[in-house]
Amino acid sequence: MSDNHNQHHIVPLSTYYTIFLALMVGTALTWWVATIDLGAMNNVIMLTIAVTKATLVVLFFMHVKYSSKLIWLAVGGSIFFLLILIVLTLNDYMARGWYTFG
């Protein structure tokens, strides 16, 4: 994270290749995990891998790691509101039938 002095940060090509390999390994790992029965953990592991892959793309391919605090705020804000959207909606759907008050 840095302010304006890093506007023209050029990411070394080796970083791009490493991230590419990590993404491919992550894809293979997701497929492999899907074929073995881990009960409720299957989906947790697959989504954890997906979130990790997305984070790598955002930080390195999309240069957020080298961007200003303002960009971090935009990215962080979008994740925050995405979580509000998903968590609070599911919270309501899962808990609505539990109790009736009054």
């Binding site: 023209h8 791009y16 989906n43 997305a54 391919f61 303002l70 960009i71 995405l82």
Partner: protein, 231 residues
């Protein structure tokens, strides 16, 4: 007064790509990147809404979703995941070439990115055709074939499948349009190491579409696969 300012301005040599309301090319690029990110924020919440619909229906019909998801062949989806990740790499390499001012490389890497994007859409079209052959397209008056127990919730799963993959494919098509535009800008010589924001923010869009697929692949193709070993 305004005349004097204009004269003073003309006396000031500046980069042809620098718009008048920006102090510097750096400030201009920061504004472009922020603007693209703000657009992507709306995109994240847009796809987030569709994914929330997926999650709610999956909590309602977990078995139907597992069975219906297992009907989708993994291989084309996995190949497409690899194709998109590779296209993200070539996009990143195009931005790198723009930063170092290698115009030939920008053109080559954007062209490869476009070929990979087109390959993705081709494989997607093949998959859609498979769904048609298997009778897995809900609505449109087409015959929907599925085991009796999950007949209706399976249609919900495939409706969500087509909405999510369809919206994603639409983004890919728009991405191909943007990349064509970038080829033209680069050929015209507009893109330089001092001014490469168009390539950079087009890349942001392309990577975002890649990220959407990174989530769609496990959610649509792999969920419930460990329970129902079909295909």
């Amino acid at each position: 007064m305004s005349n004097g300012a204009a004269v003073a301005h003309d006396a000031h040599a500046h980069h042809p790509a620098l718009a008048h309301h920006f102090e510097s090319l750096d400030a201009q690029k920061e504004a472009s990147v922020l603007g693209m990110w703000l657009f992507l924020v709306t995109e994240i919440l847009f796809f987030g809404g569709a994914l929330t619909a997926y999650m709610i229906y999956r909590t309602w019909y977990p078995d139907a979703f597992a069975v219906a998801s297992s009907e989708i062949a993994i291989l084309p989806g996995a190949i497409n995941t690899a194709v998109l990740i590779l296209s993200s790499l070539t996009m990143a390499l195009a931005v790198h070439a723009a930063q170092t001012g290698e115009r030939g490389k920008i053109l080559v890497f954007i062209a490869i990115t476009m070929v990979l994007g087109a390959a993705f859409l081709g494989i997607k079209a093949y998959e859609y055709h498979e769904k048609y052959v298997e009778g897995h397209i809900p609505g449109l008056g087409l015959p929907f074939r599925f085991e009796e127990e999950y007949y209706r919730p399976a249609q919900i799963f495939f409706s969500i499948y087509f909405v999510l993959t369809g919206l994603h494919a639409l983004h890919m098509i728009i991405g191909l349009g943007i990349m064509t535009w970038m080829l033209v800008l680069t050929r015209k010589g507009v893109i330089t190491p001092e001014y490469y924001a168009p390539i950079e923010i087009s890349g942001l869009y392309w990577h975002f579409v890649d990220i959407v697929w990174i989530f769609l692949f496990p959610l649509l193709y792999l969920i419930g696969r460990h329970v129902h070993h079909v295909g």
